[in-house]
């Protein structure tokens, strides 16, 4: 069972589909099976000629631009020919794809849109209803039987890819009962600049290494690499490495362990280059790599139970340089630091750092920022039940009040 999925995104996709299917030779994708397909069936004995005249079923693939601005790259899979059935039935066409560039046996093509996925896994699959089909009917002309949103597909590698599409007809039924009644394959060559999922694994290990280096820098911010900070880094890395395939884990672990030893050694001598790691993370093709790295830093900051000025300063610097919004930085600290106490001793965490106030702002902006921060923590306190978080939010409210007094 799943949770409701998003309104805006999905309604957008529905609109997009509408635009897509309004193209030449396209069929309606109305989910109602009674809707007659545009570019519909021709009777074998009627105007379209006999089944034998119509020819065998075949498919082809074309890359086309769709959408109201013609800016959506789509692969249109079209078919024609006789559809031999022995009784009238509601039919669907199911299309899926393989990348055969490096392996003639085929490698999977994934899709980021759930509407274009297999019902049990994230591989690309398009299911298109085609209404009612009677015996000895078929498509006299090319009719769209499937679409593939190119920019939502993930291939094994970037560059020019040879893709094989397989399109089959099935009686409309639940996904687990689908049987191919007939089908055909077609091929298309496409070019993609997106990092492939096989390359992505290398990039992922690289991003993990960079995040880990920032984590080590954070652990050293207060001058001491504590045991629980090291444990936090290890747990964070392990969680991510465990997501890799079994045969890839050993290699990733070896790389990361070596990188960890090197980072710790560099941090001890003050030669750990945080700026370089930040630059590389910003350029990483891995989605949310920068955010994930900052999340690790936040976890490490609070791992020893005390947040110092040095740690919070470094966290905000790293966040700013990674391009993370101020709101997200504050959100991460709210999520991961309630259990930690702020160091109120000499050189301890200042109110400004605790609530992320940039004192270089003009006075009116400082006032506005304090109002917003107050509203944020006050609203969080209204509904939060966790006592540690409540105490942290209350601490932030009191810090804002002191800053209000300080800055007017």
């Amino acid at each position: 069972m799943e949770i409701i999925i998003g309104i805006f995104v999905v309604i957008g996709i529905i609109n997009l589909l509408g635009n897509m299917f309004n193209g030449d030779n396209a069929s309606s994708t109305n989910t109602s099976s009674s809707a007659p397909p545009r570019g519909g069936y021709e009777g074998g004995q009627g105007s379209g000629g006999s089944g034998a005249n119509m020819g065998r079923f075949e498919v082809r693939a074309n890359q086309v631009m769709r959408g109201s601005n013609k800016d959506v790259r789509v692969i249109s899979i079209q078919g024609r020919g006789l559809l031999p059935v022995h009784r009238t039935m509601e039919i669907q066409f199911v299309t899926w794809a393989e990348d055969i560039t490096d392996d003639s046996g085929g490698e999977p093509v994934f899709c980021s849109l759930s509407e274009f996925r297999h019902h049990e896994n994230p591989t690309f699959q398009c299911v298109m209803d085609k209404g009612s089909l009677s015996p000895n009917h078929g498509f006299g002309d090319w009719v769209e039987l499937g679409v593939a949103p190119l920019d939502a597909l993930a291939f094994p590698r970037s560059g020019t890819r040879n893709i094989r599409f397989y399109c089959y007809m099935t009686e409309k039924t639940s996904p687990s009962l689908r049987k191919s009644l007939l089908g055909d394959t077609c091929y298309i060559r496409i070019t993609t600049e997106e990092t492939g999922y096989k390359e992505w694994k290398d990039k992922l290990v690289e991003a993990l290494t960079l995040s880990m280096r920032l984590g080590v820098a954070m652990a050293h911010a207060d001058g001491e690499f504590a045991r629980n900070e090291a444990t936090s880094i290890k747990d964070w890395l392990k969680e991510r490495v465990d997501r890799l395939d079994d045969d890839e884990q050993a290699e990733a672990k070896a790389k990361l362990n070596a990188a960890l030893r090197a980072a710790v050694a560099e941090a001890a001598t003050g030669s750990l280059d945080v700026s370089k790691a930040i630059r590389s993370l910003r350029a990483s093709p891995i989605r949310n790599a920068a955010y994930d790295a900052l999340e690790l830093c936040t976890i490490i900051m609070s791992a020893d139970g005390v947040i110092s000025t040095q740690e919070m300063t470094l966290l905000r610097e790293i966040g700013d340089n990674l391009g993370i919004s101020e709101q997200d930085i504050q959100g991460l600290t709210d999520k991961h630091t309630p259990e930690a106490v702020t160091d109120s001793g000499e050189g301890g965490l200042t109110d400004e750092l605790l609530v992320g106030l940039d004192i270089k702002l003009p006075p009116t902006e400082i006032k506005r920022k304090l109002r917003e921060t107050f509203a944020r923590y006050n609203s969080l306190l209204t509904t939060e039940r966790d006592q540690a978080k409540r105490l942290r939010y209350q601490e932030c409210i009191e810090a804002v009040a002191r800053l209000r007094k300080k800055y007017g």
Binding site: I3, I4, I7, V10, I14, P175, T382, I397, R404
Partner: protein, 512 residues
């Protein structure tokens, strides 16, 4: 004559007001013939419960786990319990004890109560509202659908009713009570009172002023003795109760300085002085919080201080001179203070009359007049969904805060092939608009089940309807099949059927 009453169930004190024969609200004294009943409960023994001033005086003196004050602040924590003499108690049970005592005393003298309204802070969470209702039910009150009114709204009704001239314009109710602060902006046009927005601070009240005073006393003690001061331990040794501290605070409202008697064991009685200036300085950050809340309320209502026609003070803490002075300094408007301690209870009584006009006598009906009150939604109410691009769980607001009541909103979502035959539905609330499920409270969750399998995205419609009685109906419809799920989150307890501690557990939503 019907007994129409309003109760200000405060953090530090509770007041009951009833409608007189002539339709005027008046405060009714408690069994000790005092207008204020201290919201304090002392379990002196397994079968002896002492309520009110006597209990309050023992706070800090009696055993810590046998005496309970300021529990209202924890009313929203349903899983909380305190074990006393072998029995578990929730803050609502303590409230129920106080309410029961004042109900029994009132009814013994005046007969059965016909209608009652109880006040709550404007930003009370839904759970705290439900627990307040339950406390009243436990106390033996028979409640109508609309049993609650927000404290500042009640105060506004009182001010509007007692104003020598008809009010017209935007007004701020500055309600600094014993435990909470509310800044509420209203649009008043004679008998029509419309709430525009409320901004509450949950942990800002007279209690916090007392804490600051205790801190000052501690500084003086350390200065004189060189010893550290711990409120929990040292106050007992010095025979200084919280009640004493509250009295000192009250005295400082009328005098420039007070002398504190600290009975030490080794140095006899020390008598440090505390000046009003010192106290004002100590509470300045608390006043800053109130100022920030007022500015937030003005921002929400898109108003400037100059747009306000007046400021009304409510709550006992506004009797502290520095508090009232800060309002004038901050907003440039001299606030009006009329019976601030009782205004909430008196307004609640009037609201009770407005909502129960059929029970009023002719004289009462005439006096109450044609007053109308329109409140707003107290929180943001939303649902959790998964963004199909990022795979992240997000919160989508269905009904925003400060929407005039009644209101209804529908938003469409979708479900896809991979979601099988059901969708999980969560109803959330938050004080500000949030998109991160970590920062909202899930007040109900369930499933819309047995839906047909689909091969294309289909529409799910989610409708929330919030009525004038504070009851929210949620309707979730699978458009394709017509199957629907209806949830009523009312103030009488159906919300309480949700599993305890139903905060979103992200693990429930992760892919296996």
């Amino acid at each position: 004559m019907a007994n129409i009453i309003g109760i200000d169930l405060g953090t530090s004190t509770t007041l009951l007001a009833c409608l007189s024969n002539s339709g005027e609200p008046k405060i009714c004294n408690n069994k000790d013939d005092a207008p204020l009943t201290h919201s304090a409960v002392w379990f002196e023994g397994p079968n002896t419960v002492i309520i009110g001033a006597e209990a309050k005086k023992m706070f800090g003196v009696a055993k810590e786990d046998e005496i309970f004050v300021e529990y209202k602040r924890r009313m929203g924590e349903s899983n909380l319990s305190f074990r006393v003499h072998g029995k578990d108690w929730h803050p609502r049970d303590f409230s129920a004890l106080v309410l029961r005592q004042i109900r029994e005393h009132f009814e013994a003298n005046n007969g059965p109560i016909d209608a009652v309204i109880i006040t709550i802070p404007a930003n009370f969470s839904d759970e705290a509202r439900v627990n307040t209702i339950r406390a009243a039910q436990e106390a033996g009150f028979s409640l109508g659908n609309d049993a609650l009114v927000n404290e500042p709204t009640a105060a506004a009704i009182y001010y509007a009713s007692t104003s020598p001239t008809k009010l017209r314009g935007k007004y701020l109710v500055y309600d600094f009570g014993g435990g909470t602060f509310d800044a509420t902006i209203l649009d008043v046009d004679g008998d029509d009172i419309k709430v525009l927005t409320s901004m509450g601070v949950q942990e800002l009240g007279g209690k916090d002023l007392d804490e600051k005073l205790i801190g000052l006393i501690g500084q003086k003690y350390t200065l004189l003795t060189g010893k550290p001061f711990s409120p929990e331990e040292t106050m007992g040794e010095l025979q200084l109760s919280r009640w004493d501290v509250e009295q000192l605070k009250i005295t400082l409202s009328t005098r420039e300085k007070v002398t504190v008697a600290l009975k030490t064991q080794d140095r006899g009685t020390l008598r440090p002085e505390i000046t009003r200036n010192e106290f004002n300085e100590a509470i300045s950050t608390l006043i800053a919080q109130a100022e920030l809340a007022v500015e937030n309320a003005l921002d929400n209502a898109k108003l400037q201080p100059k747009d306000l026609s007046g400021v009304f003070l409510a709550g006992g803490s506004t009797l502290v001179p520095a508090v009232a002075e800060s309002v004038e300094r901050h907003l440039g408007i001299k606030p009006i203070s009329r019976n601030p301690v009782a205004s909430v209870a008196l307004g609640a009584c009037l609201y009770s009359a407005i909502r129960n006009k059929t029970k009023l006598s002719a004289a009462q009906t005439t006096a109450v007049g044609a007053k109308k009150v329109q409140d707003v939604t107290p929180h943001f109410f939303g649902t959790i969904y998964r963004n199909t691009h990022s795979g992240k769980l997000l919160v989508e607001t269905i009904i925003a805060k400060d929407r005039p009541l009644p209101c209804s909103e529908t938003k469409s979502f979708s479900r896809g092939e991979h979601q099988g035959d059901g969708v999980k539905v969560s109803i959330t609330q938050s004080g500000a608009e949030q998109t991160d499920p970590d920062f909202v409270d899930t007040i109900w969750s369930g499933h819309l089940k047995d839906l047909p399998l689909v091969t294309q995205p289909t529409e799910i419609k989610v409708t929330y309807t919030y009525d004038t009685n504070g009851i929210m109906q949620c309707r979730i419809v699978d458009v394709l099949s017509g199957k629907e799920l209806n949830v009523q989150l009312d103030k009488k307890g159906s919300i309480g059927h949700k599993p305890a501690g139903s905060k979103v557990d992200i693990k429930d939503y992760t892919l296996e």
